[in-house]
Amino acid sequence: MRNMNSNSGSKARFALGLCLLAGASSCASLAPARADETCNSPFMTGLIKGQEQYLHVWTLGEKGVGDESDKLVTIDVIPGSPTYGKMIHTLSVGGRGEAHHMGFTDDRKYLWAGRLDDNKIFIFDVGSDPSTPKLVKTIDDLAESTGFVGPHTFYALPGRVLVQALSNKLDHGGMTGLITYNNAGDLVAATPMPLDNGGDGYGYDIAINPGRNRMLTSSFTGWTNYMMDMSQLIQDSSAMKNFGNTMVMWDLKAMKPEKVFSVPGAPLEIRWALKPGADWAITAGALTSKLYLVKEDDKHQWQAKAVADIGDPSKIPLPVDISISSDASSLWVNTFMDGTARLFDLTNPEAPKQVYSKKIGAQVNMVSQSWDGKRVYFTSSLLANWDKKGVDNEQFLKGYSWDGKELKEDFVVDFHKEGLGRAHHMKFTARSQKAESN
């Protein structure tokens, strides 16, 4: 095919020039974001490069805590606000269904949030007034309509939301698939994870590089394992075999698997480097405690390889969420078991080096950083049955400032004292579009 990217817009400019001569005023559309706050879909608009104003926490209801229901908790993170660092709104959705992850639609007006146990997907309006999200729709037929269960990752495509499921309704194992909904919540397609050419059928996260028409997926485990008590799970040698060991490179346009990589030990969150020209992605293997790099080799073949240990793998620190800096120079890696945030220097992605660490709490799972990397937020819950017990079951949101050398705690929201539950996934919003896209 001929390359058609040469600008042939002279006639258009002539036409628009006529309009200008006719007296029309200046204009600008919202500049679409090439990436969100370092981890979201590049198809999404409204990138917050400045100060985020609200932080939404998808929170698991916990028995004996508040109303015991799963809920969307909104925290004011506007510096100087009288309610800075405090919960300003909660929206309970009823029941406990293993609330887990969230994702925006392409216009950032709606936030989709899933539950891994009862498979419900809640769609919140966060565009009308982000300080007070409203539930506008619930999708409750995922299992019946697709055969897949455990809606995990929500990833914006233009006009659609791509959902990575974790399991299936037949055997509750790890074989699963991808589900495409349109923005109205209507089912568009269901795509099974590959079982051939080395594929194990498992799924976990989604990350897209639109300029290369490539999508990466990773792999975790099925319902039987993620709903099992962790202490029971790790003593069950048979169950411990049921974890994903692959990543898949897809042709995004065709939604067809291109290549399956062997990535042992449940590779979880995937982050493409956002720096122009840096066509590589990184992930962390939960059970192997390693960082894996996905990059083209000298023959332009995509490969995945281990590039660094995370802590001491023999102690199984259990790396969980990761957050890459917008210039792809560093990566936050949380290790759940020791409650520690670790910063890796990614200047050479072939050889990441840990350059900083700080204990955040008795347990820590999710991490989200602002676009400029100056603010870093942490939450505590992994899964209801995998969280620690007793006094170690700390449940919090903690906000920190990062000056390049040290994390300085700015605020803490104790989710138990506030009667909220288990704090899991975080997303940012801002009230004005102008503030969002500066």
């Binding site: 990217n5 600008n7 817009g9 200008l20 005023s25 590049p42 198809f43 639109p210």
Partner: protein, 237 residues
């Protein structure tokens, strides 16, 4: 990640700059650069299927001759690329990207037997107050020739007439105001282009990160292969 925008110099910059000098003292730099995304590794046309994303709703609009027309008249029966725009948008990451992509698509399709008689282009204005049928007629005249697939320019009587269509298509907009609350003329919107099959299904949606001319024409060819009956010769009635 690979740079997804190839900056290209606007061919009509001198005229545009002159226009601006005449009309606006504080306007954005017109025509300086247009952000054109690139998408590589696309599959060959016809080797993949495009999803049926959503039905395109019908709407009562105005054509370039100030006649009421249903949107379906301009979309059904053909392979249609549709974008929402407004005539005085100059954001290099906004409407000009769609203009550039549509011009490239139109030019490529003109010499492609698969698309020449099957493809139709449609622009629908987001700003009926400024984009009158008279303006639409000027634009339509400038973008059409016997040798090219047709490019229709549609507007509406009012913003309220247009609103249901925008809501159904997920095309969120906002009119910017200055400190005194007066409209600045800027229509904030997320650039979206819709590729529609002859039966009225949106089969692909492109935002800036995915709106490369190669990507658009690849998909148009794929749809044309699946719909040999498509025709741009007669608009549906």
């Amino acid at each position: 990640m690979t740079a997804r925008r190839m900056k290209t110099k606007g061919a009509f910059a001198p005229f545009a700059a002159f226009s601006l000098a005449l009309t606006l003292a504080s306007a954005p730099v017109w025509g300086a650069q247009t952000a054109t995304p690139t998408v590589s590794n696309l599959p060959a046309p016809g080797t993949y299927a495009l999803q049926r994303i959503q039905r395109v709703p019908d709407a009562q609009l105005l054509d370039a001759d100030d006649r009421p027309t249903a949107l379906a008249v301009a979309t059904r029966g053909a392979i249609t690329a549709l974008a929402f725009f407004y005539g005085h948008c100059v954001d290099p990451a906004g409407c000009p990207v769609a203009w550039s992509a549509f011009e490239a698509l139109q030019k490529e399709a003109a010499s492609d037997p698969l698309l020449r008689d099957r493809l139709r282009l449609v622009f629908v204005s987001l700003d009926p107050a400024h984009d009158t049928p008279t303006v639409m007629r000027l634009l339509q005249k400038s973008e059409n020739a016997e040798t090219l697939p047709p490019w229709r320019f549609l507007t509406s009587r009012s913003q309220s007439d247009l609103a249901p269509l925008l809501a159904s298509m997920g095309q969120d907009i906002g009119f910017e105001t200055d400190a005194t609350g007066r409209p600045t003329g800027v229509v904030n919107h997320m650039l979206k282009v819709f590729l529609i099959d002859p039966e009225g299904w949106a089969r692909e949606i492109y935002t800036t990160a995915f709106l490369s001319p190669d990507n658009l024409i690849n998909d148009a060819r794929t749809l044309a292969m699946a719909h040999p009956e498509a025709s741009n010769r007669n608009e549906a009635r």
